[in-house]
Symmetry: C2
Subunit: 386 residues, 2 copies
């Protein structure tokens, strides 16, 4: 009934504090980098439709017209998608469904966020406002509570949590587009300023501007653009409620579990088949929990998993070779798209200094908490070499 969609190119801009660039500048640069980056070339007229992910922190572009303006893709169907921190990955999913449906042969996905122009104060103020209004539960506080609960319930240590930051910063210094490029030790993480116990500054991703684009094509068109297309093998998308107070919901993310099990089923794989992953490390503890939620290790074993080096660049299941959100940054609409671009490069063997050993299957994961939400949303995509 359906047909497969393939990633055939990507374009990213250097993430950072991009005060000198407008929102349109960032969209345009990612788009032009994509056009330049497709092996066999791509013209704007090849693009049948586009999906555009942003949570529009800066109030610069809430509809498809904004992307049309920045790229000149007038008369091209453009949908804007928002889904909290899973915005970019869900934009990708919708584009892929359009290619699978036959409605588009070639689809553009682009995500962007200007986090540092948060004139409305959305990042700091709104997290979990609805559920815990007035109780001071900002994002770091919320993830800090998950950390203390995980430590209490499973004996996870502060050092194990810090190991995630150490690993990702070690990777990020080798990744050319990362925002915060420095190496740090467990001691450095522990000595960085406290943000919300037990999380310190180096346990938190920076506030970063960025944009990234990828191009999808149908299986019959993909080889026009590259000899090495990468198949979108599966996806999952799920939400969860923080008002379900079971143990798993306090120490883990049921939304990630549901989304990843959907994605594994669609891709016809299990967690053990994942050769490389880009996951949502908005905080160090988030990645540690995500090892468990994705089934890369058993429940409660996330601390030991990172301590033993499994998710390291030379480990058996490298996680966040790009440096993750902790080093690269987290421009929300761009984040998922940039993770997919990295998995695309990894599977093609083009990931430069952070290339892992001959991966065949790659996973991309986001977990997000919407403004005023009472729950989390997770999106997982699986890419695979044919």
């Amino acid at each position: 009934m359906t047909r497969d969609a393939y990633v055939v190119g990507s374009g990213i801009i250097e993430f950072g504090e991009l005060y000198e660039k407008s929102f349109d500048d960032m969209l345009e640069e990612a788009y032009l980098n994509l056009l330049d980056g497709v092996d066999g070339g791509v013209a704007p007229s090849d693009i049948d439709a586009a999906w555009y992910g942003t949570i529009d922190i800066a109030g610069e572009g809430s509809s498809g017209a904004a992307l049309a303006h920045a790229t000149g893709l007038f008369e091209t169907p453009i949908t804007r998608v928002e889904n909290a921190c899973a915005t970019g990955s869900d934009a990708f999913r919708n584009a892929s469904l359009a290619v699978q449906s036959g409605a588009a042969d070639v689809a553009l996905v682009i995500g962007a966020e200007k986090m540092l122009d948060d004139t409305a104060g959305l990042i700091g103020s709104a997290a979990l406002e609805r559920l815990w209004r007035g109780r001071g539960v900002t994002m770091p506080a919320y993830f800090g509570m998950r950390a203390t609960r995980h430590m209490d319930q499973y004996g996870t240590t502060r050092e194990q949590i810090a190991e995630v930051s150490v690993k990702n910063h070690a990777n990020g210094v080798k990744y050319p587009y990362a925002h915060q490029q420095f190496e740090c030790s467990v001691e450095d993480v522990r000595e960085s300023p406290t943000v919300s116990y037990p999380l310190n500054l180096y346990d938190c991703c920076p506030v970063t501007d960025g944009a990234c684009a990828v191009l999808l094509a149908s299986e019959d068109r993909a080889r026009e653009f590259t000899d090495d297309p990468i198949r979108h093998a599966g996806w999952g998308l799920s939400a969860d409620s923080f008002q379900r107070g079971d143990d798993l919901a306090l120490t883990n993310f049921p939304a990630t579990r549901q989304a990843s099990s959907q994605a594994y089923e669609r891709a016809g794989i299990g967690a053990g088949d994942v050769d490389v992953a880009e996951v949502h490390d908005c905080f160090s503890i988030t990645e540690l929990i995500t090892y468990e939620d994705l089934g890369l290790c058993a429940d409660g074993e996330g601390g030991r998993f990172v301590e033993e080096g499994h998710p390291h660049l030379d480990g058996d299941t490298p996680v966040n070779p790009s440096g993750g959100l902790l080093s690269k940054g987290h421009p929300i609409g761009a984040t998922g798209v940039a993770q997919l671009a990295e998995i695309f490069e990894q599977l093609r063997g083009e990931a430069g200094d952070v290339q892992v050993d001959a991966p065949e299957v790659g996973l991309q994961h986001n977990i997000g908490i919407g403004r005023n939400a009472t729950g989390a949303v997770s999106c997982v995509n699986v890419l695979a070499r044919d």
Copy 2:
């Protein structure tokens, strides 16, 4: 390659000033009305995925997690779509593509907006901010300029423009979910307070809260839900720039022209095949211009078209039998979904006092201007009896 998607049910709430209802209340009520309204019944577990349209004026639900919370559809993939005033119709389009792709057999579309809780002042302040900052070009001013230009270029009269409001209010008093239910004459429209010359109060849609849901199913599943499914026959989506200063862009909407020609091509029809239409009459002049852009009459003939009664309930091409945005109201995320629900009912012969004569093909249209956009976006969907 692909398969068709069918509308199999709808649920709407009474539009109005719904201060007594929360945003979640409105979503829940539309969802429950949908569940009740499907002929053969539908259970939440039948729903494979959902698309949720809102521009989130009230800051209540910017991600899929918000709809999950209101409906209990946790673990169901939910994408939030925003595309200015085409938000609801583009959410529908994305849901349909998922059904066409095989990724979902049954998909929920729901749109909602709480316009009267616009705490951020988005409606009034942001329109066209980017292009004409500080020059006072609010929405009524922008559409007023289109009206004066149309009058100047084509000899359209003030009375002809008012006829649109007269027609739509005559329809709206017969449509049970409309917000502003009163009849008015051309004289009443002309004597209502000036908003932005030549547009008076009765030339403008009211500020309205509302929500609406429709259910889509694949062709092989549709008859589980109803004996009378309605096919999604075609769609178009396009953007345009206000910085292209050609004549057509000043008197008409190139985005509507492009979107409707895409939709006609996909549906294999021409404008002459449209038996009934729900179009975007945010202002009376918008509907008049849209007659021309959709090809229901020639360029410059919109005034005469309405004066001669063609788009009236008993005319040869009834437009806005529901009373349109002018009478029903314009809760942005809900607007397109409610138009589709009305076309669905019309094609099934279930439109009650506003039923037109045995339509086979129905068209739904939105034109929107995004916050801070420099152009318009238009979405057109065609529904058809098989």
